[in-house]
Symmetry: C2
Subunit: 308 residues, 2 copies
Amino acid sequence: MTQQFETVALIGIGLIGSSIARDIRHKGLAGKIIVSTRSQATLTRAQELGLGDLYTTSSAEAVKDADLVIVSVPVGASGSVAAEIAAHLKPGAIVTDVGSTKASVIAQMKPHLPDSVHFIPGHPIAGTEYSGPDAGFIGLFQGRWCILTPPPGTDEAAKAKLRMFWEALGSMVDEMDPEHHDKVLAIVSHLPHIIAYNIVGTADDLETVTESEVIKYSASGFRDFTRLAASDPTMWRDVCLHNKEAILEMLARFSEDLAYLQRAIRWGDGEKLFDLFTRTRTIRRSIVQAGQDTDMADFGRHAMDQKT
Amino acid sequence: MTQQFETVALIGIGLIGSSIARDIRHKGLAGKIIVSTRSQATLTRAQELGLGDLYTTSSAEAVKDADLVIVSVPVGASGSVAAEIAAHLKPGAIVTDVGSTKASVIAQMKPHLPDSVHFIPGHPIAGTEYSGPDAGFIGLFQGRWCILTPPPGTDEAAKAKLRMFWEALGSMVDEMDPEHHDKVLAIVSHLPHIIAYNIVGTADDLETVTESEVIKYSASGFRDFTRLAASDPTMWRDVCLHNKEAILEMLARFSEDLAYLQRAIRWGDGEKLFDLFTRTRTIRRSIVQAGQDTDMADFGRHAMDQKT
Ligand SMILES: NC(=O)c1ccc[n+]([C@@H]2O[C@H](COP(=O)([O-])OP(=O)(O)OC[C@H]3O[C@@H](n4cnc5c(N)ncnc54)[C@H](OP(=O)(O)O)[C@@H]3O)[C@@H](O)[C@H]2O)c1
Ligand SMILES: NC(=O)c1ccc[n+]([C@@H]2O[C@H](COP(=O)([O-])OP(=O)(O)OC[C@H]3O[C@@H](n4cnc5c(N)ncnc54)[C@H](OP(=O)(O)O)[C@@H]3O)[C@@H](O)[C@H]2O)c1
């Protein structure tokens, strides 16, 4: 592919930042990749992995020649990163992020950023339960959606460039306003993670069932939840703190529906149970048809077992 | 491997029954496999797949020469199957099942069965979200646990034979009393499925988020739940109806814990959130170490994507 930016600065080089770095390199999308992260340890590791061309722990230093700046840090750290880089941004640069919440990130970053740059917040809908620079890989964003939440009046040319960048990474790009993004993500991502953390916590606390039993028999369903519940605690703490309203709304709906289901179980209402259990199959089929999941039994885990 | 039984009768030939049939054939564990299912359509399909040596829609007919009878039907149908076969069982035969609940299956089957047979209920902790004879495969039980819940006074030799059979299928075998089984499975299997069905239902009902959005962005967590929520409605209705007490107990614990978590989110208590989100990672690690799940990112789905 052809180069899209002269210089890209990556602030934060964990799972997401390092996957972007690998894709940029792999596809030749930038002339130069500048890697920046707050800790020397992570920076050294990024260097060992050869993720960039220049390395620095100073985000101010990192952005000064960059045409595209991508901030990939926990959402609670967006404000301080924006404050650090603001005075050093090159006029005309595009500044974006990958944070899992959008209204809060905008509220934190926008006040700091000069009018001379194009601030276009984003969120790639792709990830895994692992974090850090070693967790990234080429192709993470392939076939996945990326949501941009550009403020009203955003420069069309800048937006088109950022779109093209994500498309080069294999993504489809959508636009929506940040409040709607936060509501959508509350149900498709934040609630599933919170529920997973919760049920793993419940299992861990039981007196009548031992931890060893939970582990041995986890293949009957439980193990699926433990994957989400192994995700990075800092990232998910920040998501919960920064998308509170939407998450609480979805939690209330979920609990209401669960009470209804619980009642059907208590009163032995097989028909109600059968109806819900039938209705939910349709969504799974649509997700597989849309190419957003494999149709292999058990996510293809069995095929993986055979290989190892 | 060497033959363990002269004649095995399989009553029910869906995911579980047909996987057992394939393993028996593959490993030469029986001289003859008799396949029985209530519908002609499923029986014909089983015959096309070559799952057995003899085929019949009469379970009474199927069991008359069998040394091992394995009942693999929804738990709500255990009683009627037991009533059908009882008078035709060969003295000394071992009768077992694979139902996901145990106290209820025993209550339904035991009264019908003659003292001349060995009734040893069982439950292999393995499965997928698919059902029917096409869904089964060789190796489903490999590396997974199988729980037996033999009544007090069960013949030791018969128990040892059944154990050896599951071990030949690659399983590790545990024994416990049916009430404990039902409690353990309520948390490791039944609650995860109910929660998954529930959240998919909640998402489906929202007015503010469209179904198309839920599908497009499902890779951010939601899709994991849709797999469990695509499981067979009849099977899961029966599980809910037949393990009511234990499920309601676990649901109450789960809801209590969720209220606590909700409160932490409402009050912005980052420390409480961080603590829970850290504690839950340990269980995941133990499950992977115990060989009960892959440690590949995203269950290795990405590797699957690459292959297709
Ligand atoms: N993980 C996912 O599945 C996923 C998916 C989509 C979007 N996201 C979003 O992507 C962003 C990054 O997630 P990730 O999974 O890549 O995280 P990660 O692997 O944990 O990496 C985090 C990066 O941010 C830096 N960082 C952490 N705390 C910081 C702070 N207080 N100030 C400045 N830098 C800090 C880390 O630096 P050091 O290592 O040097 O401390 C590291 O470079 C988050 O906003 C997350 O919401 C994640
Ligand atoms: N699926 C899992 O992951 C899993 C795991 C462990 C244990 N189990 C347990 O294994 C058992 C079978 O599950 P499965 O997944 O193999 O189911 P399945 O694929 O849906 O097959 C069900 C079998 O039972 C027969 N059947 C259905 N309703 C019946 C009725 N009312 N009376 C008599 N026969 C009936 C079906 O016959 P027709 O097709 O001819 O109607 C078919 O042969 C269940 O008790 C389940 O709890 C399941």
